[in-house]
Amino acid sequence: MLRLDKITKIFGGLTALTDVSLEVRKDSITGVIGPNGAGKTTLFNIVTGLYTQTSGDVYLGEKNISRFATESLAALGLVRTFQNVELFGKMTVLENVMVGLHTKSRSGIISCAFKLPGQIKEEKMIAEKARHWLEFTGLIADAPNSANNLPFGKGRILEIARTLAVEPQLILMDEPAAGLNSQETTQLAVLIRKIRESGITVVLVEHDMDLVMDICDSIIVLNLGKKLAAGTPREIQENKAVISAYLGDS
């Protein structure tokens, strides 16, 4: 599904990632963990085209997407969420999800401004599908509310709902559980499983180890910009190198 081949990223004099290679299987939930500064978010930014890697390649399926612009990835089925929830705050919850259907619709400025028949039909389709994704994520009751007024936990879910509207093959989630209470985290785990069951591959960066060990099929550990280990949750828990990276070796 997603394959990274020897990704290296150097910021000025700082090497953020060194020769990181990894593979994400289709229909899996893969966790990327590691101490702060390990390069997890940098990795996401490279995959989604926000940063350009110094060397190495990114493949989505068979396609080399190394030089693709961020906005062209949604159409290929690759989307992400952000660590600091990037909602469209001045828009309603429904409208937020409707933006997710941008690549599923075609009307240009002229047909939108003059309300041509095709645009009206398309607009109906967009609203219907957006409602579907709000139902899927359990946010339908909040549809007409302003996104700014959502509690933080729901904001995180809305961000996921918005990416689902793109009908992606792969979602990258950057710390989806950060700032959630334990009840919200449980609901999130249920949602992530439900997303995987609907045929979407999930990769998440996460610090909540209970969540990661609970829902992930495989885990990749980064430390100081290098891949330290990869394997099932059980293998990772028993890995000596991982334990010493987290707890410090003395």
């Binding site: 989604t48 961020t70 906005e71 989307v79 001045k90 409208e95 933006v99 939108c112 003059f114 967009i126």
Partner: protein
Amino acid sequence: MTKEKREILIFFIFTLAVLITPFFLQGSYFLNVLVFIGINTMLAVGLNLLLGYAGQISLGHAAFFGLGAYISGILTTRFGLDPWFALVIAAVANGALAFVIGFPILKLKGHYLAMATLGFGIIMFIIFNETVAVTGGPSGLSGIPNIQISSLIFDNDLRNYYLIWIITLLVMLFSINLSHSRIGRALRAIADSEVAARVLGVNARVLKVQIFTVSAVISAIAGSLYAHTMTFISPASFGFNFSIELVTMVIIGGLGSIYGSFLGAAILTILPEFLRVLRDFDIIVYGLLLIIMTMYMPGGLISGLTRIAEFIVGKIKSRGARHA
């Protein structure tokens, strides 16, 4: 959906009000002011697409307005073109110019974008002033013909009123439609979080250039109509101060609100009549107005008025409930 229906209903009421207003006015002074309000509303609504929806500043919109006016004025006075035809050429030329400069300029963000558009405005102002052979320079260009539809010549305030306002209403309707469409949502998404919009597949760069172009075309149409109703234009109307006035109209009316742009345009058209005693210092009042509005009513007049209306309705409802 209901919000959109409400907006369309308000639009019909507004249209009706615009159409019948002249019957209640005596003398041409008020009509003349209303013609100016119409032109300024068109400009403010056009700038609002860029500033209010997409969140991109332009401190050079007076230049697009001026370019529209000059192209129309020159083509009709020197080359004898029909004003309608000149208007179309002005709109297309402005659109092409905005499209070409939009790509490099709109890569910039925030203060840098403000500076670049400011620079564009100043360059155009210098061109209007210095190319005396073409534009007539500081002393202006006169004898611009009125717009004509077969034998109907738009040469008095009443006729101009209807001409300007019908086109302004069309621009407003266009803008309302756009705001409730995928393009309008994508623009507002860019304003709130450009990176999140791009991740969802919105091509922010192209869309910003497109809306900048549309905004410039609307300004050109306003400029052309201005030239043909005034029959005289000079660079003084298209300088930096007017660009600032346009931004002020959009902000004090309410970013992203079409009726807010109308309110802002109306206030800033009428206000100078009262500020004449201050002469050139009137810009201080605009500055103060901007500061006060952004501090105490950041959503603009329109959201302030909505809040007051909701408050009153709430009071009435709670009183009714107590009686029942």
